[in-house]
């Protein structure tokens, strides 16, 4: 009984996580400018990360694998936002101003550096 509940719970978490990442991906493609895009990608990524890893950990049960998964989750939670910060910071330093109204980034390279 408890197995089935855990299984269902983990699948719910996994599906939610998947949806999060998918939404983030769509946002990365569809949103108009650089800052909006990384905002979409990074937030959903962190959330999806937590959800998916929780789901897998429930699948794995109490074992060494769970511990490893937890370590990976913490690692990703630390690096993901930091990378986003570094990316946004680099964009800002190279002269890309955050502007709510702008529909696109004119100098295309800026978001790549």
């Amino acid at each position: 009984m408890i197995d089935i509940i855990l299984d269902i719970l983990s699948w719910i978490l996994l599906l939610l996580g998947g949806a999060c990442v998918l939404i983030g991906g769509i946002g990365g493609l569809r949103l108009p400018n650089f800052y909006a895009r990384i905002h979409a990608a990074s937030l959903t990524d962190s959330m999806g990360n937590i959800l998916i890893f929780s789901g897998i950990m429930l699948q794995a049960g109490l074992s060494l694998a769970t511990l490893k998964l937890f370590a990976i989750m913490v690692f990703l939670l630390l690096t993901g936002p930091t990378a986003t910060y570094a990316l946004a910071n680099a964009a800002l330093l190279s002269g890309l101003k955050p502007d709510v109204g702008s529909a696109s980034d004119e100098p295309q390279e800026n978001k790549l550096k």
């Binding site: 690692f75 630390l78 690096t79 930091t82 910060y85 570094a86 910071n89 330093l93 390279e109 790549l112």
Partner: protein
């Protein structure tokens, strides 16, 4: 289920490859190359090659990208919009593709246990490894002992690349270059990456050591460990600046690691000769041949790890130091 996923990954691989070739901006191409390597690593993992996946992820997606970016920052990041001999290329490539596809029709299909490749040598390794060497990871056993001579050659390939890069880049730049003069190390004055980096780097190095010494039991070994530790140190150099990384591990120490690692490997082989065995026959290293084999693999893996780590870091520093010249 896993096969659908594999097909998906393989298709992505093809798309990424085409995108890399079409990309005009070289930074985009390099980042896509990194993604390509990561997808490749995932594919390797699906095909049950855990060691190779780990190596491809650490070397292909990690180190290669860093070296590419270093080189890009010294050159131009835009490809001039022109193509070379497009038709010659198409013809050559077309013939090649036809040839390979012609060959595929007789190839044994994927996963066929009766394929000749699984018949002759491979089962012997799987069967004899517990008896002769007694370590769980058969890949490490073959890499270290059965085909240890190849691995020695591989260490010397890395050594050659290291001295090659040092030799080629040891010429002082004479003329003006068309590069933009950069501020030193872009992340230097940013608190958040620095703090997170300081938190992570010890764990990266620790993981590298785990991979090094756990190589006999799980996926891993000297190459992967060397690459991972090198990645950790490169991260440190990016965050704290080139010079403080060199203060922590000076160039001479790095070169010493490369030379020492290569010599350690070769030295174990010579020691085997001196103790009455064949070159790289570790059985003579201890009274019990199995213990001798394990001891030998431990030593040579340490040599490999040292050499690879030192070589990759030397190569990175050789590129990075180039920027401060101009």
């Amino acid at each position: 289920m896993i096969f659908i996923f594999a097909v998906f990954l393989l298709s992505l691989l093809v798309i990424t490859a085409i995108a890399i070739v079409r990309a005009k901006n070289l930074f985009v191409a390099v980042m896509l190359t990194s993604i390509f390597s990561l997808l490749m690593a995932a594919n390797f993992f699906i095909l049950d090659a855990a060691d190779v996946a780990l190596t491809e992820a650490a070397v292909g997606a990690g180190i290669t990208t860093v070296i590419f970016l270093c080189a890009l920052s010294l050159t131009d990041d835009r490809e001039k919009p022109r193509e070379g001999s497009r038709w010659v290329a198409f013809c050559t490539v077309g013939v090649l593709a036809l040839l390979i596809i012609y060959a595929t029709f007789d190839k044994p299909r994927l996963g066929d246990p009766d394929a000749p490749v699984h018949q002759h040598v491979a089962p012997w390794y799987l069967e004899k490894t517990p008896e002769y060497i007694d370590i769980p990871n058969v890949v490490t056993a073959i890499l270290g002992s059965f085909r240890g001579y190849d691995t020695l050659g591989e260490v010397f390939v890395v050594f050659a690349a290291c001295i090659g890069v040092l030799f080629i880049l040891s010429v002082k730049p004479t003329k003006k270059t068309n590069q933009v003069i950069k501020k030193e190390s872009g992340l230097r004055h940013h608190l958040i990456p620095q703090v997170v980096g300081r938190l992570l780097i010890p764990f990266i190095v620790l993981f590298g050591l785990y991979v090094q010494f756990h190589g006999e039991y799980g996926p891993g070994g000297g190459f992967q460990a060397g690459a991972i530790i090198a990645t950790g140190v490169i991260l440190y150099a990016l965050l704290e600046g080139e010079s403080s990384a060199l203060r922590a591990i000076p160039r001479s120490v790095l070169l010493g690691m490369v030379v020492g690692g290569a010599l350690l490997y070769g030295g174990v082989g010579v020691a085997c000769i001196l103790m009455g065995g064949a070159f790289l026959d570790y059985s003579v290293l201890a009274t019990d041949p199995v213990v001798g084999q394990q001891l030998g693999i431990l030593f040579i893996e340490a040599g490999v790890g040292m050499a690879v780590c030192g070589a990759l870091l030397s190569i990175y520093h050789a590129f990075a130091a180039r920027e401060s010249f101009s």
